[in-house]
């Protein structure tokens, strides 16, 4: 694998999902209809992952993802691959978008690697750039499933955590450097008990893990949950800022935030491409607060890019990378 040096200051990254490329859409459509072999599915998805990685490299992103091209939904994808889950029926997410909310009907158990293939493939074509392992967290898995088996939320979440830890081990064995657990549901119940429950689950997932441990949280009252999660066993929180107009920034200062920060500076719900100056200013605003140094700040979008048109996603990333480059020069004297 070719060597690639991730910049020390303001490395750029992505949260995970990327717009579905045509071959991935075709793979998923045929999978829904039941008319595709495992092999064909993989082939189509790989073609899509290749396109995603090309876009990332074109834009200049440092730490990549596989673009979640084979995941129709962040919960359903894993539910379909675990024992203990039954397929669900359609529940609406918004407008005319639905998901088949899965049902836990038995003790959840890990069967075989769920997303390893895509990650390995992405890594094999990334030109040495690291590729994040990105998995849906146990708290969100439970919140966005129906539970007919456990009844007890803690028990269910801890079982899901053990299953996810088992999955994480697969990547660690292959030298994964970044492991990100997505917990968007956590921001919807910003209470201490909930944060403690999710924290307990993260202990299970991250105990003894030496790769970079990241948790992604978005779109909710993050400022409310923040004080309860600061002692989580993670190296980095990856958070949405742009969509909520950076209202989170003063809270970081207030709570004495000192972990690494995935700094969401690109709005994934808006078609408007943020200008380089706008993103650079957002980075400047963070630095001026003097909370953490540039080596602890990872520049990325608010959340996955899946709902954007590909062209817009590409342009947003390109401007983001350029803004990070300028900030690097200014705040770290690094080229």
């Amino acid at each position: 694998m070719a060597a690639y040096t991730v910049p020390k200051a303001f490395p750029t990254t992505v949260v995970g999902s990327y717009p579905k490329l045509p071959s991935a859409r075709e793979a998923l459509r045929r999978q829904r209809k039941g008319g595709i072999s495992e092999e064909e599915f993989k082939k189509l998805v790989r073609e899509a992952i290749r396109g995603v990685i090309e876009d990332y490299i074109w834009a200049g992103v440092d730490i990549l993802s596989d673009g979640e091209q084979s995941r129709e939904d962040m919960v359903v994808y894993f539910a379909e691959r675990l024992r203990g889950y039954a397929p669900g029926e359609w529940v609406r997410i918004f407008d005319n978008v639905y998901f088949r909310k899965p049902i836990i009907v038995d003790k959840v158990e890990w069967v075989s690697p769920m997303a390893l293939d895509d990650w390995e493939y992405a890594r094999s074509i990334s030109g040495g750039r690291p590729v994040k392992v990105i998995l849906t967290g146990p708290y969100t898995m439970l919140e966005w499933s129906f539970d007919l088996h456990y009844g007890d939320r803690r028990e269910a979440i801890l079982d899901l955590a053990r299953v996810i830890r088992r999955e994480v081990d697969e990547y660690l064995a292959k030298g994964a450097e970044y492991v990100q657990i997505d917990e968007p549901a956590l921001s919807t119940r910003p209470w201490r008990e909930e944060a403690e429950l999710a924290g307990e689950a993260l202990e299970v997932i991250f105990r003894g893990v030496s790769a970079k441990r990241i948790v992604h949280i978005c779109f909710g009252r993050i400022e409310r949950i923040l004080p309860y999660i600061l002692d989580y066993p993670v190296d980095q929180f990856d958070l949405e800022f742009k969509n909520s107009d950076f209202r989170l920034l003063p809270y970081l200062k207030e709570y004495g935030y000192d972990k690494e920060l995935g700094y969401g500076v690109v709005d994934v719900h808006s078609l408007q491409v943020e200008s380089v100056e706008e993103i650079k200013k957002a980075i400047d605003d963070l630095m001026k607060l003097d909370i953490i140094g540039p080596e602890k700040v990872y520049i990325d979008p608010d959340c996955g890019l899946k709902r954007l048109p590909r062209e817009i996603a590409r342009e947003k990333l390109k401007n983001m990378v350029e803004a990070a480059r300028l900030a690097r020069r200014e705040w770290a004297g690094e080229e």
Partner: protein
Amino acid sequence: MAKFWASVLGGYPRGRLARYTMRDLDSGALEPYRGLVELERASALVVGAQLASGMRFVVDGMLDWHDIFRPFAEAWRNVYLDGIIRYFDNNFFYRIPVFRGEPEPQRLVLPGRVKGLKMLAEPAGVKVVVPGPLTMVKMGRNESDLSDYELVDKIASALALEVREAVANGAVFVQIDEPFLSDPEASRDDARAAAEAASRIAREAGTALTALAVYFDTPKPDIYEEIIDSKVSLVSLDVGDAPARAIGLLREKGCGGHGLVLGVIDARRIHDDSYSNVREFVIKALDACRELEEVGLTTTTWLDLVPLRFSLRKTYILGLYTERLAADLGGEAVIPITAKPEPYLAG
């Protein structure tokens, strides 16, 4: 002897017919008129389920509402819709209504719907639901020159007009949804504004029953004090989500002379609710508000957060438990569909 009656809290999920119809309507692939016909078919199914399950009041299912704010925001001048944001702690998103000024109704949302539903709903009564003005402001964005509470007042005026016409067209139950009042961030001033807005809307409802509904959680006691100051006939509380707190609230504060609607059937999960739990909640609530002569039972939230199949099952359970409770507690169940049939066939 207490009377018991049932009605679901709000909208239903979309089955395949409604899903495809909405998709095709929104993409322009279906003519609006054809879309209406298809939606009416889809709606008839959920109306039938409510009637057959013994609901005293029925809703049309609100199958075409993308969220509770949307139809109203779209019908008002000076309001536009922005990005999507999560609706409380659900994996469901609504579009943010943004107010650039006082909302001015360009057309009415409810009266036409009531007219369509009235015949189908016989012999049950038609219930309509409007978003609470406070919730709409708190979950929307105020870009107008008005203060938030002034805007609450203006929205109440627009909704009062809706309600007056809905009642004139046959609605007999008007529910005002203020789920924001269960939010830990809601203040006493917020609650006062919401209660005043609800009073204002209720004034236009004439002889129809009116309810102020708070759900997704139990409001704090000081919030609840304001809620029961509102001039609505009924207060509707989510009991199933946090029973101990809800019952505690009723014990501590009573009902303030209002009738009570209790959300006892869990509309966010798909398991069959336990009858003994529901029975216990109702007994405790009645014990806390002894002056009540009747109590309404409902679902904890709208039913659109579960798949269609389960929403129908929950409707059935709601009706079944209402009947069982009445029998168990020596009361009477008000079930229009089993009442003595009117002589429809005469002539």
